[in-house]
Symmetry: C2
Subunit: 369 residues, 2 copies
């Protein structure tokens, strides 16, 4: 071969993208596995995927990152699933991100500000981010989007990926879908789509970061409502009606907060599909079912302690946060379902109120005949 040809791999290698996954919980590990299967196949990516591991010492006395690198399995958060030999666990956050131009954030949302501070100024100038983090906070004056925090703290653009994504089902390679939300650059969004997309994980993109990200948070409020219906044994009609009203309020709330949010986003995996998955399974639904079965006599605090080993339910917190926004902006009457979920959670209304508000919403129109 001529020297021109022998130089080719060198240049090519320089232009290849490098991926780091920041987070190694259940969903982080599955994300690393998906990505690693693609970097092996796609010539525009380096094979290796760096996965930052929040270091833990296992009962065996070994370090989690070392065990992942030895066994190619996250024995603690995704046992029994091989991640791909090109996944390299790295307990050093700065080191894990330093060479990568594609940063995948997938940690609990409360760690995000701290992580961004630690890697500020230590990432590549051409880096791009994507957030898989669900459960941003909805503050009084509006939501504090994780994608915005990442963009602002790191000075880079940030997409989001959300969808009907129960991590263990994806790890089993059962078919599912996801949605990438992007702000302006369709080309970057497509690069993320190709990095995640597999025959069993079908990814598409929409130009609507806020819509996609809000879906991932607001659905948990609707799941609480669906759980109440299950606990009251009101049947599939009622559950479907409550899910539909919930989807409508998710859409209306998102559009009031961000005029850029698109209706069609709610037809994507991040919208209707994630809502369905969350309202069929999921711990928000399950705890709310138990709450309603007890007639609201046991508090969510008690039930969480018993059923979730003290973890807090995202949906209950989000319902409270959304309620504050509704009060603050004078929107309460337009969001009867969101408002009622919170009132039930704090035991100001009984669980059966979840369907009763509808009577009020129609009073005006009935009176006009």
């Amino acid at each position: 071969m001529s020297s021109v040809f022998s130089m080719a791999p060198f240049f090519e290698s320089e232009n290849k993208s490098r991926v780091a996954v920041i987070g190694s919980g259940n969903w982080g590990s599955v994300a690393a596995k998906l990505i690693a299967s693609n970097t092996l196949k796609l010539p525009s990516f380096h094979d290796e995927v760096r996965m930052w591991v929040f270091e833990e010492t296992l009962p065996s006395g070994k370090k989690l990152s070392a065990v992942i690198n030895q066994t190619n399995e996250n024995v603690k958060y995704l046992p029994g699933i091989k991640l791909g030999k090109n996944v390299v666990a790295d307990p050093d956050l700065e080191h894990a991100v330093t060479d990568s131009n594609m940063l995948v954030f997938v940690t609990p949302h409360q760690f995000m500000e701290g992580i961004c501070k630690r890697i500020q100024g230590k990432i590549r100038k051409d880096a791009q981010a994507i957030s898989l983090v669900k459960g941003m906070e909805v503050k009084r004056d509006g939501p504090s989007m994780i994608s915005t925090i990442i963009s602002q703290k790191l000075g880079i653009s940030c997409c989001v990926l959300m969808g009907a994504n129960i991590a263990n089902e994806i790890a089993q390679e059962n078919f599912s879908e996801a949605t990438v939300g992007y702000r302006e650059n369709k080309e970057i969004a497509e690069k993320w789509v190709h990095l995640f997309n597999t025959p069993f994980f079908s990814v598409s993109s929409v130009q609507d970061v806020e819509g996609v990200e809000l879906c991932g948070t607001l659905k948990n409020v609707v799941a609480i409502a669906a759980g109440f219906v299950d606990g009251l044994e009101m049947g599939n009609n009622t559950k479907a009606a409550i899910m539909r009203i919930g989807l409508r309020e998710m859409k209306a709330f998102s559009k009031l907060l961000f005029s850029s949010v698109k209706d069609n986003t709610f037809f994507e995996s991040c919208g209707v599909a994630d809502l369905i998955t969350t309202c069929l399974g999921g711990r928000n639904r399950k705890c709310a079912e138990a709450f309603a079965k007890h007639g609201g006599k046991r508090s969510f605090d008690e039930l969480e302690a018993e059923m979730l080993q003290g973890q807090k339910l995202q949906g209950v917190l989000t319902a409270k946060e959304v309620h504050e926004v509704l009060c603050h902006r004078g929107w309460l009457e337009s969001f009867p379902l969101f408002a009622t979920v919170h009132e039930i959670c704090i035991r100001r209304l009984p669980p059966a109120a979840i369907v009763k508000y509808s009577e009020h919403t129609h009073q005006h129109s009935r009176a006009s005949l």
Copy 2:
């Protein structure tokens, strides 16, 4: 009282609307009950609701219509539920409709043409119709809408009412919703809304007859797909993804057939909510689950005979009809889910193919990187 006042009830009575319900099966009886509770309350309607009963002799030797009028219960199709004393069962079709200006059609779809022929020229000139009939046929050149058949045969306008409406759950007065689709006259649509709406049955209207009516038919094809996923035990992610893809194909197919169909119709009860109900319960889902569990080795004909006492599954028939339209118009590639459901039903593909087609739909976009 003066003579002016004593005349008032006479004129008022003349202007009041009279309702006839054509059909008295499970859903017809519940519809009559809903309507009868409202005509008692609303001053613009006569109290009495006539319900045409396809006469049957019960095992006791008594006539069904006579028993309904004696007991105020449809003992055969909705036992245990009082219809309201102002519901009058009438076995004479022509007599049942003759005085009414609001005709509610709710019979099996195969009887509709015959019924229209029998009452042609025998209805009031100012009559309005609404169809609750699901399961129209989708012929090669497009669907044969029940609302269109009624309009054309009777020369009157026809709205439709569809939604997440399991009759027995509505009879129990559990909360649910429905959608009225209308063509032009918003005022008539609102009259139907008021006639059906109750605190536990929340009705809204959209200007989209075809969209609403097509939802009621196409959802059954998606329910077959959802049943396959259940039978294959692929989990909630996959089921949600298949339901979402199904909803997208329902929307795209309806819009290709009728450019007037609106996206937002699919966010209404007739769209996403009815789809959820049908994919959670329902016999289409159930039989398809059994079909997949048997690995497609037993035909739908066999399973129907066993599980439905010989009744035919609407979803299997509709999938076949839709497939013919897709072939005829060259749309097969745009509707992988609809096409695959039919191919599985006729055992040209295995049940697992329901998720496999996605691989093909993404080949182009993946190849472009």
